[in-house]
Symmetry: none
DNA sequence: GTGGTCTAGACCACG
DNA sequence: GTGGTCTAGACCACC
């Protein structure tokens, strides 16, 4: 599990952990039943307070993305295929909606905005393909 | 000047003011030289403390979107056309980039993502046209 | 009398007027007995509130740089040669002291600081000579 | 960290804090990574409101001299050596320039001005050496 | 414990 | 009238 924490971004650390773990589950980088890194280990790795990691895992548990099994560890929860797909779409729609609203407010045409989006999509798409081969 | 403040959104009030005034300047609803609503008046209207409004205006001044003149008022600053356009594009690209990254991570195709974007763009576009007529 | 007011410098307008008039008197650009521009005229020229100019002149009167003669106007006051010289030295020493303190705090040697000072002195000196000829 | 606040100087308290902390960072009395006195502690020590200290630290953060980490504290930011040196020179040049302009306006020769500067530099220099031994 | 936000109200500075 | 500063004290978010 790769997490990239930015102490200076203003976004609370526990939120960064939640967002990134959630994304990795939705992106199938983590599968149902997989065990997550323990609270202590992750805290040590990220150089943050264990309470911060624990809080993040608790929130993920409330969102039913993970299950805590006392004395054993934290595991990726089973999710219905439909549920996963719905959540993905929702997160994506939120991001696209913010972009659409900005484009309209700034008087940028549909065509221009779409062109920019496609450029960015392809750039990140090729990067992803590249990083796959590297690892 | 229309501001829509949500006291319970978690986003600090002064940040909401900053974001909305900045957007209105970039969207040309406020033009260079225009006087903003005075600190006290806006505070009364939004039912918040004057210091909260003042803090928001201070931040906008630091970003060089407005100028404060003691004993006179707060005014929209002159901005080079180029600067305005660059800022708009930057803000829009950030939003589109977040969306593109999400789409890729969730294995949603370029075509599907673009289709969703266009749907949302048109929905908000027609809303905007509607709201114009209402006022 | 040439005054250069900067509305956006943060320094109060009345203070800018006081400082610049005082300097011009000390620099002998204005001589004892000379009549200053009237409050109204100066206010119109600088596009500021007449009360602002009046306040500046009042402060100059308290410092005994000018005399107000009711119904006549404001005039540069007589000052003893010694007084003028002392005031000049005081103002200069204040400026030099601030620079010396900064240099020491920033670990910049006496030699380096003096070299910078001489460079700046000569640059402004030649500018002044140039502007004399132009007028 | 030694701060010398004058409540009656007319200069806002938060500005005095900003100026003095900035200087101490530039003068290397505070080094990158050092933790600053906490908002509450400094407020208690200076007998001012915590918000006043917080405002000062906020401004220093905007100038990128410090970093605030919620729940942890305020720390001196990393700055490139070049950036520090450039900032120092800029502040010093500003002070020297004001002095040079005053000297020229008051018809004080380069030699005389330099002589005064050297006298003041040495006086403050020896004071600094003295105060080092005292602590 | 840390810093962040907000309030209500006072007083000052500027024009 | 305008904005600027500061206080005392509350409550929140984060670690």
């Amino acid at each position: 599990m790769i997490l990239d924490i930015d102490n200076h971004s203003g976004v609370p650390i526990y939120r960064q952990i939640v967002d990134q773990v959630r994304r990795q589950i939705l992106a199938d980088h983590l599968s149902a039943g997989d065990q997550l890194v323990s609270v202590r280990d992750l805290a040590r790795r990220l150089k943050v307070n264990p309470m911060t990691v624990s809080k993040a895992y608790s929130l993920l548990e409330m969102e039913e993305f993970v299950e805590r099994r006392r004395g054993v560890g934290v595991f990726v929860a089973e999710m219905s295929r439909g549920g996963v797909k719905q959540t993905k779409k929702m997160l994506l729609e939120e991001a696209l909606e913010r972009a659409a609203v900005a484009a309209i407010q700034f008087d940028i045409s549909e065509e221009e905005a779409v062109a920019i989006f496609i450029r960015l999509y392809r750039r990140h798409s090729s990067r992803k393909a590249g990083s796959r081969n590297e690892q």
